[in-house]
Symmetry: D2
Amino acid sequence: MTVKIAVAGASGYAGGELLRLLLTHPHVEIGALTAASSAGTPLGTHQPHLVPLADRVLTETTPETLAGHDVVFLALPHGHSAEIAARLGPDVLVVDLGADHRLADAADWQRWYGGEHAGQWPYGLPELPGAREKLVGTKRIAVPGCFPTGGSLALAPALTAGLILPDVAIVSVTGTSGAGKSLKPNLLGSEVMGSASPYGVGGAHRHTPEFAQNLAAVAGTRVSVSFTPVLAPMSRGILTTASAPLAGEVDAAAARAVYEKAYGAEPFVQLLPEGAWPATAATLGSNNVQLQVTVDPDAKRLVVIAAIDNLTKGTAGGAVQSMNLALGFPEHTGLPTVGVAP
Amino acid sequence: MTVKIAVAGASGYAGGELLRLLLTHPHVEIGALTAASSAGTPLGTHQPHLVPLADRVLTETTPETLAGHDVVFLALPHGHSAEIAARLGPDVLVVDLGADHRLADAADWQRWYGGEHAGQWPYGLPELPGAREKLVGTKRIAVPGCFPTGGSLALAPALTAGLILPDVAIVSVTGTSGAGKSLKPNLLGSEVMGSASPYGVGGAHRHTPEFAQNLAAVAGTRVSVSFTPVLAPMSRGILTTASAPLAGEVDAAAARAVYEKAYGAEPFVQLLPEGAWPATAATLGSNNVQLQVTVDPDAKRLVVIAAIDNLTKGTAGGAVQSMNLALGFPEHTGLPTVGVAP
Amino acid sequence: MTVKIAVAGASGYAGGELLRLLLTHPHVEIGALTAASSAGTPLGTHQPHLVPLADRVLTETTPETLAGHDVVFLALPHGHSAEIAARLGPDVLVVDLGADHRLADAADWQRWYGGEHAGQWPYGLPELPGAREKLVGTKRIAVPGCFPTGGSLALAPALTAGLILPDVAIVSVTGTSGAGKSLKPNLLGSEVMGSASPYGVGGAHRHTPEFAQNLAAVAGTRVSVSFTPVLAPMSRGILTTASAPLAGEVDAAAARAVYEKAYGAEPFVQLLPEGAWPATAATLGSNNVQLQVTVDPDAKRLVVIAAIDNLTKGTAGGAVQSMNLALGFPEHTGLPTVGVAP
Amino acid sequence: MTVKIAVAGASGYAGGELLRLLLTHPHVEIGALTAASSAGTPLGTHQPHLVPLADRVLTETTPETLAGHDVVFLALPHGHSAEIAARLGPDVLVVDLGADHRLADAADWQRWYGGEHAGQWPYGLPELPGAREKLVGTKRIAVPGCFPTGGSLALAPALTAGLILPDVAIVSVTGTSGAGKSLKPNLLGSEVMGSASPYGVGGAHRHTPEFAQNLAAVAGTRVSVSFTPVLAPMSRGILTTASAPLAGEVDAAAARAVYEKAYGAEPFVQLLPEGAWPATAATLGSNNVQLQVTVDPDAKRLVVIAAIDNLTKGTAGGAVQSMNLALGFPEHTGLPTVGVAP
């Protein structure tokens, strides 16, 4: 079986990564590639690494250009995807890589994004308890934000098992590609190289309510989330350090056992051997999440580290994994479990 | 007045940074430059940026080569500096950039470093409450570790003022030069570039007891410290994210006022304008600490960000600043307050 | 048909890249993985990105551990591979990623490497005139050096067509992974980041005679080669700038036509659209060579730019491509033509 | 004696570097700081590293705001500086960091920049034969382009001494800050990191005629210049590899002697010890040019390597050095000869 797919936002980083993965997917035929200001230009101008598609010409992102496909991926600024999605038929599988359909709560949406709430879709993070089931057969998928992908998986087992109190501190060191190709001075190479800097500090980042939603679901109670993203001089990768007070007496071995059980059967999550710590480079270009967990006996906190590639597992890989579940393909189809390193 | 100084460990990164600063210090004459395996070679081979000293030949690090100087800087592996220091006269100002004389508690020393405890010296972080006074006129200085420099200054005002509970979570993103020139595979450029990775997770980093000691002193009570360093692809810089639960109702403005009061008169600490966040690049090569503080109203935590250059304020700059206090020079002598950016 | 392969030197960068590619090769079964000082440890310790092989234990590199395989890849220091190769049977396909079997001339070998000359094997750069034919069915392959891979392909069409005089100047900007995991101070992240520096200047780099040999073969005459490698702050990638005096009146369009003809049918070589210039990032992880050619009308020189990934096309990808030819598999089997960017 | 200076373009990289240097200049008082779209905002918003000037508010760049200063530095896009300069009085020292007054030939100006030729001013590269004299007492200075700074100094001694034929090939690896803060997609951190890419290939870069002008002046004849800049993942630094055919029998020692003689008395030019090669990191933040020269005996070419910091010696440092000469201050005043490394 082959499905015909379209990518809206094909000139951006998320769109490019989608196409990189889909080019190796045996059940996919690549159809319309659309863009906004880049419409009319060849894809190769924007994505010179996508050699087999270099001569494909971008068309405008409209319901018309996206019509006639089995799957439509929306890699668009928030607000835009809900608008377009509303005009695609119910039989089309719509995979939204933006934020529009992630939050359940309309008030949250209002506060963090503004504008009308488009409603919540099944959440494309199959490794979260209960999530995989909702993706099977669905026609609508909300792909998680890049930070909540690694961060939620880092904390879910501990919260589910009651190892920690619902009061977590998360610091995520991220590459620049998560910000897309937006032309902002602070994203210039000259500013980024040789520098680390935070943004959205104090709970101001829009991924905070998504963290809270995911973690409350697994904890069964409200979870206080302190989240700080830090921009580092690398294109790809997110290294999340998450910690929380222990709920009782737990040692590193017991914590490890909980994570082994939670992720032992997951194709894309690796609990590293004891003593080994994740590095983002090892996940580059792969759909993997590399994890390590330990207990700080003095501070009486659980500390979990998670490394992902923000564009792969954190965006496009998560999207393809969820599409596979929705369409009944083996979950790992078209998704590398081997990183590109060094 | 001119003092004659010696640098033990002149071929390393800390030693090189010391010399970079001391070359512009108007009251310093540079005497012996010593090393271990590099003895007998010209400094220029190891520090090609120190042009005026390129032809100076390194001698061996012994009490004899270090004799006859007013000030001796020890940039040596821990253990070695205590050994050498013990053989330098009481009239010599000894500035130890290593760990040997930082910790008050012998049991802490045993646990974290091992071997005999060499005792505690006045601590070279003048901006900590009470520290400056102890440095004036001293003949022995223990220069702080690079992480506790920024991290302690980030948290001290809040702990002193009782804004937060004594339970802090610290994540510090660091450049590679803090690890020195040690030839370890994980420090190779090929491994570091494009990657973020933690180490010493779960309270295993040796700077943890130094954090605890500093913070307890200002808080007047034991402080629980969860500290995680993360290696990022840059040579210099530490960006510390520190957070802790609020002790009561505090808003961002009130928190800011506490920090303004604490650091308003400090020559090297800048509380940035509201809305601006520190970036390590802005501190490169300077002795500055750039800070910002805010309150996360949902998580009910104070969040503080501090940026420093690990080799300048975090090591060699702190050493020179403390030397200035010890010898009665104006504190800022020979210390840049302007970074090299971009 | 499936062949069983062994990799000698599996803990290094070339060995790791080979395994990354071979893991996706449909006709390959991965057998012995050998190493020197790392023997006895799991591959995951050294190559955490090779998730499916993480638990495989490295054995020592000996003729015995390498016996019983259809194909043996030697990713060893020069000298060692000839030694081992001599003890592998004539029916085994031996693919040498080192230098031992590249040079035809024993005097060249003596001058540049020293020791006994092991003889020349078919050269694993199928895109060079005459090279592909010699690889079909061979049992011995000498994989080219990373610099001569891109540089030879950059200049071969012009020399073959007589567009330029046999007097070329080549400057290649390279990532650090080409130097392997050797623990040298100048390869530390702290030294590499933020810096560009040359090495082997003035014709002192060992790839110079390999350039000369390749270019003389296509030019039909001795070619003077001035080659300078420049280390840049990136893990992967080589960007070669090659120029030479025009042999007569040639404009950019005519030069372009020569390159189009030379490489139009090559699966891994892309002559970019006019006005587009290669960037190494676009080739990362792929077996591609991206090229552009132009004429400098004032300097009367042809200028060619070539970008490759030094570990893929420049080492392991070239090795797999040549293996495919030797064994009769389609040439592109297991080799990505899509890069990982940004 | 103190001079009052103004900087037009103070929010950019060149303007920022000027201020960094001028803050340490003992004879300078910093007056108006002007900008275009950033007028009205504090300097600290754009240059957080210039701590002592953080609160200074930028004014608009007009002849009026620039009036009343002894020295006016113009760090403006080409075309703009000539316009402004024409409206500044003859007694003001005008230092143009742009291209407007570099080229002698109006036809060259027309071809490479377009618009009216503003005429040529004394050239701010004192180390070129004859240049220093013309700067003493001048009221108008044209600061060289960053590439011609290092590249001209790399080749001048050899051309002057007749060691090489007037046919040079120059490849310069450059950091991104030379492109300024312009918001172009190819300058984004995500694009730059991990990548090397050329631009202005085939003699298309605007610094080519400036090279030709400088080199012809020292050679006494037209010099053919093939120039290729390559963007590398670093903020600062230019590493130039320049080579040319030997004019006769010259060995490395003889070439070295020529360079020693040419630069032995220069305060900012260092011919490195034999066997040592320049690295841009060693020059970071300094006004130095680090050089090495050798002969390729096989290719019969002279090869010279030069490293500079493009913003310091390549722009703002050269400007201050030339100002010093124009005003009669010691040439090295306010200019570091020590780099910031690693």
